[in-house]
Point group: C2
Chain length 475, copies 2
């Protein structure tokens, strides 16, 4: 039995990112995954959902056509099954490409089987035992389905099965309105499925800022009914495929889309053989800045660790895990500022600290506010709705975070992420140019609003005085 | 005759911005404008064009409907005259509001007449002579129409008259393909007008980067024919309202949209009475960082000065002019990094230094490239086209500028403007999070491409090592 330098368990986005780092150091590695290859993101996650959302929003826009001078919108129709066929075609391109990338990257070092950890330096796969200097665990996570719900069989859909449906059910209860439930629920509703949304929590898309949340609920609620704050209960009768009850009210559905979060793919993985304590989710403690589990040569990256279950974070964790696994080290890396986006309409996004986090820590901060129902560009495009809140430290004027439910949130959030990553103050942020008319001007308004509320009222002018000008052409 | 502290000539965006600063210092001022009030931007510029472009792009999107599972696109039709009616309605809201703002801001100090400068401390308006401690000139600019073209009368349209047309001509030659010609030409073509575009220069939307320009020409050229690099000649015959010749080829049109730039509104303004030298455009020299003309108590702001004829720059110049006019000073302010956006499809934008400027100054720079025909999010939305080039200093890795013709350029450009304003390096820019799948990932690819080409190949990892982490929550 030859000893490997590294074994990567899982060929998803996190595992592939680790693989890239490990390949820089050694060819003596194995990647183990039972398939299907192609990454969750490309197969059933970020990619197909965006194609679906675009089609849904294109169709939804017809409501504005008459006002814009476009006739015939009433003749438009959409066929949910055709949309899904389109989405699958799009998806197959991306997932097929990712599978090719995976096979090319891993080459002969790919074992298509399930892996089991036997010890911190020993893995079993395909009936073989592999001794290894390090292990990267990147098995991902899967949609959570409460075990009592399993009796409903294929009437329970998830993000992993919805895109495979040849016939989209006519009436769907979406249970869980985080990023996945909200994106899929709204899109399904816009392509003509009857959708009702439920979430035990009184929130939508993870928002914690009450005012922003309220506006998001209003806007999304105009697409499809949503019920928040109480658990949905499922049952089945002869007359109805699946009954969903909420409080005293029950209604009949063709299917339920379960979107209540994910559980880590650790069944049969043998984490118990690592010899470290496991928490109530069955996971070991790990350091998000080293990806290391305890002081073992074992690293954990991507959705499986439950820390930041978002693709770009999985890539970062894979990078850290791969670098450390290859070198047998525990080098410590900064994590990027948090950036979360829900591709709903209005889009929901959060950057840096959430409002709840700031309030919990008792930090003194001001809130800069911009109501997008008055935002010029949004109004020009008849898409004016939502609210942007940015948070700034009342002492230092530093930008701390933001929550928003606005059109174009994905773009505003990226600009804000640059500011957060570079620890900029609201005054520094206001020195940038803002074109006209753009959605970003709404961000400027929120920044100005925050600046006006800061303790130190001696606000700095947006234009710097000469002497410290950035080099740039003039006329 | 009482002496005023300040007289503002022109109640457009630049003048109103100056007014806000002057009102902070004194109530003893006058604002003079012959009307119509409401600002060029809101009446005939940025605002109506964006409403038109949105309607045009909504209609254009129908070509993708069938593929997305939406039926009936062939039943859609658009009526250019209805679109313009919609645009006027939208425009009236914004312009009406701006007129109200103007009247409220200026109050009784508004004189609705044409102003003439008699001396650096004397203005005439409405038959009255006004002595003043300072003058702000903010009269704006108007579309340039070569005098021989005046014989064609109302067959020559401009951005100031096109939105007023009750009947949009069936076939229009757009002459000049800078920001205005390109935006209006493409939108008119998409709402069903037959459009042919011409520009004497071999460029589009002001691009100077040959590769980006080429891709822009390809993309826009698929909407309507464009002829670059030779002057268009106009004539009129009995059989044809207006004939446009280009090289050996002539064709008949219903109207010409003249979009060859603007000329400053200085006729009868009395600039010759300032006692300073005027250049061949009839304008005095001025300092863009103080807005001051020579050492006179006279300041010039906005499109009239020809420096940076863009709304947000006019506001900055108004701020500088107003502050200095009120205080009788020449305080020097930094100008923001240049940011130019054309709302075409693909959008065209430039930030910081243009490529031509960098080449002219002999600066050593690398080009980071991203082809958006392969960009994931753009492909998911069937809008994958165009090219992004970013320029970085080969010694310092500092981001210097960018030119692009890509979907969502307006957003990418704002993120880049933050980087330019803060003199960030490409490595610092890569430390920010990029979500997936977003257009901004195309920017990241271009940044990585630039980083890989830098002289100092010791590239910094995107994740900082611990010790210098920005404060932010972890899991």
């Amino acid at each position: 039995m030859t000893e490997k330098d590294a074994v990567i368990i899982g060929a998803g986005s996190g595992g592939l990112s680790a693989l890239r780092q490990i390949k820089n150091a050694t060819d003596n590695y194995l990647m183990i995954d039972p398939g299907p290859l192609g990454t969750k993101c490309a197969r059933v996650g970020c990619m197909p959902s965006k194609a679906l959302i675009k089609a849904a929003n294109d169709f939804h826009r017809r409501h504005k056509f008459q006002s814009e001078g476009i006739s015939g919108a009433e003749s438009l129709s959409i066929d949910p099954d055709s949309v899904m066929e389109y989405v699958r075609g799009m998806r197959d391109k991306f997932a097929g490409n990712m599978e090719k990338v995976t096979r090319k990257l891993a080459g002969d070092n790919l074992i298509e089987a399930k892996a089991k950890i036997l010890a911190p330096d020993m893995v079993e796969a395909g009936g073989e035992r592999i001794k290894t200097k390090s292990i990267v665990i990147a098995t991902g996570a899967s949609p959570l389905i409460p075990s009592p719900w399993r009796e409903f069989g294929d009437r329970i859909l998830t993000s992993e099965t919805i895109f495979e449906q040849k016939h989209i059910p006519k009436k769907i209860a979406v249970i869980g309105l985080g990023v996945i439930g909200l994106e899929l629920g709204q899109a399904l509703s816009r392509i003509g499925t009857e959708v009702v949304g439920f979430d035990m929590k009184e929130t939508l898309g993870g928002l914690t800022d009450e005012s922003v949340k309220k506006r998001a609920i209003e806007a999304v609620g105009s697409d499809f009914p949503i019920h928040l704050g109480e658990a949905a209960r499922l049952s089945s009768t002869k007359d109805c495929k699946i009954t969903v009850c909420y409080g005293d009210h029950c209604d009949c559905y063709d299917a339920v889309l379960a979107a209540m979060g994910v559980s880590p793919n650790i069944e049969g993985l043998g984490l118990e053989n690592l010899g470290v304590e496991l928490n109530d989710r069955g996971l070991p403690n790990f350091n998000p800045k080293t990806a290391q589990i305890s002081d073992l040569p074992v690293y954990i990256a991507g959705d499986v660790n439950g820390c930041r279950p978002i693709l770009h974070e999985a890539l970062d964790e894979g990078f850290i895990a791969g670098k450390n696994a290859a070198a047998g080290q525990d080098d410590c890396f900064c994590r990027r500022v948090p950036l979360r986006i829900v591709f709903s309409d209005p889009q929901i996004a959060a950057v840096g600290y959430m409002r709840e986090e700031l309030e919990t820590t008792g930090r003194e901060f001001v809130v800069g506010r911009e109501d997008f129902s008055d935002q010029a560009r949004a109004a020009l495009e008849q898409n004016n709705k939502g609210l942007l809140h940015i948070y700034a430290d009342n002492q230092t004027a530093r930008f701390l975070g933001a929550e928003m439910a606005i059109p174009g949130a994905e773009h505003i959030a990226h600009q804000l992420a640059v500011a957060a990553q570079n620890q900029m103050t609201v005054f520094e942020m206001l020195q940038s140019p803002f074109y006209h008319p753009v959605l970003e001007e709404g961000l400027r308004s929120a920044l100005r609003n925050a600046a006006s509320k800061l303790k130190d009222k001696h606000t700095q002018p947006e234009l710097l005085v000469c002497g410290s000008c950035p080099e740039s052409p003039l006329c």
